[in-house]
C-alpha cells in the first residue's frame, strides 16, 4: 500500500533520514521504533508532505506522492495523529471533530464518520460540547484519533500515541488502534515504547540515526538480542 524507497532528508546540512526504505502492506500494523532523535517523526512528517525529502520515492497505492503538499497527501487517505496530540484546546470536542472532516474526501461522509467515532469513543459523545482543553490526557488522545478518523483515512500514522499517558490509558489507546486495524485500517505506529508497539505490529523497523538497521516481524524483533539489549533493557 505504501512503499518508501531510499529516502534522504536534510535539515540544512544535518541529515535526518539516510536511505530509508520500508513497506506497509494493506491492512497491517507496521511499527517504527527507535530512540529519541532517530528520525521517526521526521519520517512521518516527510510521508505526510509536511517536509520535502531531498531524494527518494514515496508511493501510495502505486502513485508517487513524494513532494506533494500535505493537504493533497491527506486527501489521498493518509492521515496522521501527530505527536503531542495537537488538539485545538479552546474549541469544543464537536468542533475539533468537525475540523477533521474538512477534507474534500470526507465531507459527504461526515455524519456516518461522526457516528462511528462516537460509538468507538463514547466519552467523546458525552463531552461533545466541552472545550477540548478540559479533557484528560487519555481523552485528548482519543479525540486526536477520532479527529483523524473524521477524514476517512485508509492509512493512519500514529506518532507516539502513548506519550505522557498513564500505563492503563496506554493500554486503552493501543487497544483502540488494534480495533481500528481489525476494521481494516492500515496503521503505522511510531513509538518509543518498543515492547508495546512490537507486540502490536505485524512488521517492524528499527530506526537508528536516520537509517533502518533492523527489520522483521514484531515477534522476531521482540526476540532479537540487539533489540532486547538496546530498547528493552534485558
Amino acid at each position: 500500500m505504501l512503499v518508501v524507497r531510499d529516502l534522504d532528508l536534510f535539515y540544512g546540512d544535518a541529515q535526518a533520514l539516510d536511505g530509508v526504505s520500508f513497506e506497509v502492506a494493506e491492512g497491517s500494523v507496521v511499527a517504527i521504533v527507535g530512540a529519541n532523535g532517530a528520525g521517526k517523526t521526521s519520517l512521518i512528517r516527510t510521508i505526510a508532505g509536511m517536509i520535502r525529502p531531498k531524494r527518494g520515492s514515496i508511493s501510495f497505492r502505486g502513485a508517487e506522492i513524494a513532494g506533494l503538499p500535505s493537504h493533497k497527501v491527506c486527501n489521498l487517505g493518509i492521515g496522521q495523529v501527530a505527536e503531542g496530540r495537537q488538539i485545538f484546546p479552546t474549541l469544543t470536542v464537536a468542533e475539533n471533530l468537525d475540523m477533521g472532516a474538512l477534507l474534500p474526501r470526507a465531507r459527504a461522509r461526515r455524519h456516518a464518520q461522526l457516528e462511528r467515532v462516537f460509538s468507538m469513543f463514547p466519552i467523546l459523545a458525552e463531552r461533545a460540547r466541552q472545550t477540548a482543553g478540559t479533557l484528560s490526557g487519555g481523552e485528548q488522545q482519543m479525540l486526536a484519533i477520532g479527529r483523524c478518523l473524521m477524514g476517512v483515512p485508509e492509512l493512519v500514522m500514529f506518532d507516539e500515541p502513548s506519550l505522557g499517558l498513564a500505563p492503563a490509558i496506554v493500554q486503552e489507546v493501543l487497544h483502540a488502534i488494534r480495533e481500528l486495524n481489525r476494521e481494516g485500517l492500515t496503521c503505522v505506529l511510531v513509538e518509543q515504547n518498543v515492547a508495546l508497539s512490537l507486540k502490536l505490529a505485524d512488521r517492524a523497523y528499527v530506526l537508528e540515526n536516520g537509517r533502518v538497521t533492523l527489520t522483521g516481524t514484531g515477534e522476531e524483533l521482540l526476540a532479537d538480542d540487539r533489540v532486547r539489549q538496546a530498547y528493552l533493557g534485558m
Binding site: M50, H71, A82, Q86, I87, F88, L102, L103, R107, G151
Partner: protein, 333 residues
C-alpha cells in the same frame, strides 16, 4: 439571514430585530449630529468586521489596514475627479488594486513563513511605503490632498455617492449590515472552519489536510477587498483625502480597536466595539472641552485609560460577556 439568526436564541433575535428597527427609524427623530455619529459607527462596524475576518477568524494580525482604506478611497476618488467615472464603477478597480496589495503582502508573508508580529510589521511597512508614495503622486494631489468637489446639481445621484447626510447614513447602515451577514456566513462555512483551525494551531491544521496557505490567502484577499469598499465610502463621505490622514498607522489602529474591545472572532464583537468606542471618543472630546483641558493628547490619554479598564474587566471582549450576561446566545437554561 439564516446564519445570522442561528447565532442567537429567541431573546437575542428580539433584541437584534428591535435594534435594527430603531436604527432604521433613528434619523426621523435624531439630531443631525447624532446621525453623523451613527454613520461613523456604521463605518467602523464595516471596516472593523473586515479586519475581524482576517485577525479574529484566521488569526493573521494586520496593523496596516489603513492601506486598503486609502487605496480604495484614492482610486475611486481619482477616477471620479479626473475622468468622471462614478464610484459605482470605480469601486471595482479600487477593490482590485487593494486586493492586489493584499495578495502581495499575503504571498510574501505566508509563502516565506513570516508569522505573528513579523507579519504585522510587514503590513505596517506596506502601509507606510504607500503613504510616502502617495505624498509624491501628483495626479492625486501629493501631500496637498485630493478633493472631490461639492456640486449642488449632483445631489441625489446616489449611484455616484452624491447625497446628503441621510443618504450616507443609510448607505453606511447597509454596508455594516452586509458585513455582519457576510461574517456570520463565512464563520459557518468550510472556509471559516479552516480559518479557525489555522488560527488555533497551524501545524495541526496542516496535519488534518487543511491547505493553510490557501486559507490565509483567502482571508487577506477577502479582508482587503472588503476594506477597500469602506475606503470608497470614506472618500465620498468626507470628500477630501490626504496621504498622512489616510495611510497613517493611527488609522489602522483606530479601525482595529472596535473588534478587539468588542470581541475578536465573534460576529457581533465589532458591532458592540464600534457602538462603544465611537461615542466614547465623541464624549471625551466634549468632556475635555467642557473642563477646559486644552493639553494636546488629553483626549487620547482618557481614551487609552478607558480602553485599559474595559480590557481589564472583560479580557475576551465585551460581546462574549454581554451576550452571556443578557442571555442572547446559546441555549437558555
Amino acid at each position: 439571514m439564516k446564519a445570522l439568526w442561528g447565532e442567537m436564541n429567541g431573546r437575542g433575535r428580539v433584541v437584534l430585530a428591535v435594534a435594527v428597527l430603531l436604527l432604521l427609524l433613528a434619523p426621523t427623530v435624531a439630531t443631525r449630529y447624532l446621525v453623523s455619529v451613527l454613520t461613523l459607527i456604521f463605518y467602523f462596524v464595516y471596516v472593523g468586521q473586515a479586519w475581524n475576518l482576517m485577525m479574529g477568524y484566521a488569526g493573521q494580525l494586520s496593523l496596516g489596514h489603513a492601506l486598503y482604506v486609502g487605496v480604495g478611497g484614492y482610486v475611486s476618488a481619482a477616477l471620479w475627479v479626473h475622468f468622471g467615472i462614478g464610484p459605482w464603477l470605480g469601486v471595482f478597480p479600487a477593490v482590485l488594486l487593494a486586493a492586489s496589495f493584499g495578495a502581495a503582502i499575503g504571498w510574501l508573508g505566508f509563502r516565506f513563513g513570516i508569522e505573528g508580529v513579523y507579519f504585522a510589521l510587514l503590513t505596517i511597512a506596506f502601509a507606510e511605503f504607500t503613504r510616502i508614495g502617495f505624498d509624491h503622486i501628483d495626479v492625486v494631489g501629493g501631500a496637498g490632498g485630493l478633493f472631490i468637489p461639492y456640486e449642488e446639481a449632483r445631489l441625489g445621484e446616489w449611484w455616484n455617492l452624491r447625497g446628503g447626510q441621510l443618504f450616507f447614513y443609510y448607505l453606511a447602515f447597509g454596508l455594516a449590515a452586509i458585513a455582519v451577514l457576510v461574517t456570520a456566513l463565512l464563520a459557518r462555512s468550510r472556509l471559516g472552519y479552516q480559518w479557525r483551525a489555522v488560527r488555533e494551531d497551524e501545524a495541526a491544521a496542516r496535519a488534518l489536510g487543511i491547505d493553510a496557505f490557501r486559507a490565509k490567502m483567502k482571508a487577506i484577499l477577502i479582508s482587503s477587498a472588503m476594506t477597500a469598499v469602506g475606503g470608497v465610502f470614506y472618500a465620498f463621505y468626507y470628500n477630501s483625502l490626504f496621504p498622512a490622514q489616510m495611510f497613517e498607522m493611527s488609522r489602522s489602529i483606530e479601525l482595529i480597536l472596535g473588534p478587539i474591545v468588542g470581541g475578536l472572532g465573534t460576529v457581533f464583537g465589532p458591532v458592540i466595539g464600534a457602538f462603544l468606542l465611537t461615542p466614547l471618543g465623541e464624549i471625551l472630546i466634549g468632556v475635555t472641552e467642557a473642563l477646559g483641558i486644552n493639553a494636546p493628547g488629553a483626549k487620547a490619554v482618557f481614551f487609552g485609560l478607558t480602553l485599559m479598564v474595559i480590557i481589564y474587566l472583560v479580557p475576551t471582549g465585551v460581546w462574549p460577556w454581554l451576550s452571556k450576561t443578557l442571555g442572547l446566545t446559546g441555549r437558555r437554561s
